[in-house]
């Protein structure tokens, strides 16, 4: 079962903007609200990555504390808090499995930078909504098995293309082709243009 009908239907830029504003003012009730709105989504992403309930709880806590503690740098008027929360959640989880696996790729030290609130400006609500999530789901299932595998290895396991080639015992060039073709096909299937 996928969570997108529940999650993305709830993504409303106006209410998120108000919520972000209250979080920035450090209203305790706002922390409860953002957890109630995105906690399940964040936990689902983290659990998919780490596949361990105890670790997923710790990392979900770390995600929301990080967001709570770094709201000062968030642009309430232009920022998209939902994508930010989900990105922080995914990055915490990838960072965790890299530490556990002892994987120290160059990208491992870059994840924190990829969470900067400044990267989540001017994303309209059209970016994350139920329709686009459904489109992505449908597009994902149209991909070949190899293309689906590499997208999952990239997003949910944080593997580099070289690591994927090792894992799948395939030439690096083949893996790169699968990844690029999959990304292109997913983008083409998302009918609505993304407004940024």
């Amino acid at each position: 079962m996928f969570f997108f009908p529940i999650l993305f239907a709830a993504l409303d830029s106006e209410s998120d903007r108000a919520l972000a504003s209250r979080l920035k003012a450090r209203e305790p009730e706002a922390l409860r609200e953002i957890y109630d709105k995105y906690g399940r989504l964040a936990y689902s992403v983290i659990f998919r990555v780490v596949r361990n309930a105890a670790a997923a709880e710790d990392l979900t806590q770390e995600t929301f504390l990080r967001v709570w503690n770094r709201m000062a740098g968030f642009d309430v008027e232009r920022g998209a808090i939902g994508p930010w929360v989900l990105t922080v959640a995914r990055n915490r989880a990838i960072d965790y499995i890299r530490s556990v696996d002892g994987r120290m790729s160059q990208n491992a030290i870059e994840l924190t930078g990829a969470e900067s609130p400044a990267l989540f400006l001017d994303m309209e609500s059209v970016i994350l909504n139920a329709q686009r999530a459904k489109l992505l789901q449908a597009a994902f299932h149209k991909l070949s098995e190899q293309q689906r595998t590499v997208i999952e290895l990239a997003y949910f396991e944080g593997l580099s293309q070289t690591e994927m080639a090792d894992r799948l015992s395939q030439p690096l060039g083949t893996v790169k082709t699968w990844v690029r073709t999959a990304l292109r096909l997913l983008r083409e299937e998302l009918e609505e243009p993304v407004t940024v």
Binding site: F2, F3, L7, Y43, Q61, Q106, L128, E152, F156, V196
Partner: protein, 245 residues
């Protein structure tokens, strides 16, 4: 390069999958402050967030909400309102509640601080491990500039054809607010290439690494200058440390 390819490159970058030379190309575009590059990156970040919808739904345990609110020093809503109906009990009970509540909040804040400290320490550890791996690599060579005289800036530059440039500097000058140090790769022909900004600690020591498309055969020197926060596309002050390759 077509727009479609550029979209894909930024999506690869946002996923952490892009490798040199395309990685250096995209990072250079982003450093230049190009609005088009920023737009493509945000679009790629948005697509990344959408990929989260591929995760199967998992239900967090109810205790997690209490844990998070507690760790942030926010009290979970409970049935304390019944106290109002009881007239807030006695003054002694209230005083005791206030004391223990304050103490609990303090302890939670302490715990939160420890977690943040641990996260910083883990990040530093990873950075140190990466640096050590760079230094241990047989392909790494060391260069030096500056003098060992007390309080004079001095830099040790480690170069590795496959892994970039690592700068270890000491005795760096104190900077005015809004200023940073910027490293430059000075090619044998053409202008200096930005290689990232950084700050020094209170003692004037700094460690900075650039992995952007370093080509030792085409590089004449590594230089350091003081620039406005955010960095500059070309030096705006005279470099004060230049290390020849």
């Amino acid at each position: 390069m077509s727009d479609t390819n550029r979209d894909t490159l930024y999506e690869l970058y946002a996923l952490g999958l892009l490798e040199d030379p395309e990685l250096s190309e995209i990072e250079a575009e982003l450093r230049s402050g190009s609005p088009a590059a920023q737009r493509l990156l945000r679009q790629a970040m948005a697509n990344n967030a959408l990929l989260s919808s591929l995760a199967p739904s998992a239900e967090p345990p109810p205790r997690l909400r209490r844990r998070i609110l507690g760790a942030a020093g926010v009290e979970e809503k409970t049935g304390w309102t019944w106290l109002g109906a009881w007239g807030l009990a006695t003054a002694a009970l209230l005083a005791g509640f206030v004391y223990f509540s304050t103490e609990t909040t303090r302890l939670r804040k302490d715990a939160f601080g420890v977690r943040e400290e641990l996260a910083v320490t883990q990040t530093e550890l990873r950075r140190s491990q990466t640096t050590l791996a760079f230094l241990r690599d047989p392909g790494t060579t060391i260069l030096k500039s500056g003098t060992a005289e007390e309080r004079q800036p001095i830099a040790h530059v480690f170069v590795n054809p496959g892994q970039g440039v690592l700068l270890m500097a000491n005795n760096l000058p104190r900077l005015e607010p809004g200023k940073v140090f910027e490293m430059w790769l000075v090619p044998k022909s053409g202008g200096p290439i930005p290689a990232g900004t950084f700050a020094a600690d209170a003692s004037g020591a700094a460690l900075h690494r650039s992995t952007d498309g370093f080509d030792p055969a085409a590089t004449a020197a590594v230089a350091l200058s003081v620039e406005p926060e955010g960095g500059s596309p070309a030096p705006t002050t005279t470099p004060f440390l230049i290390t020849g390759l």
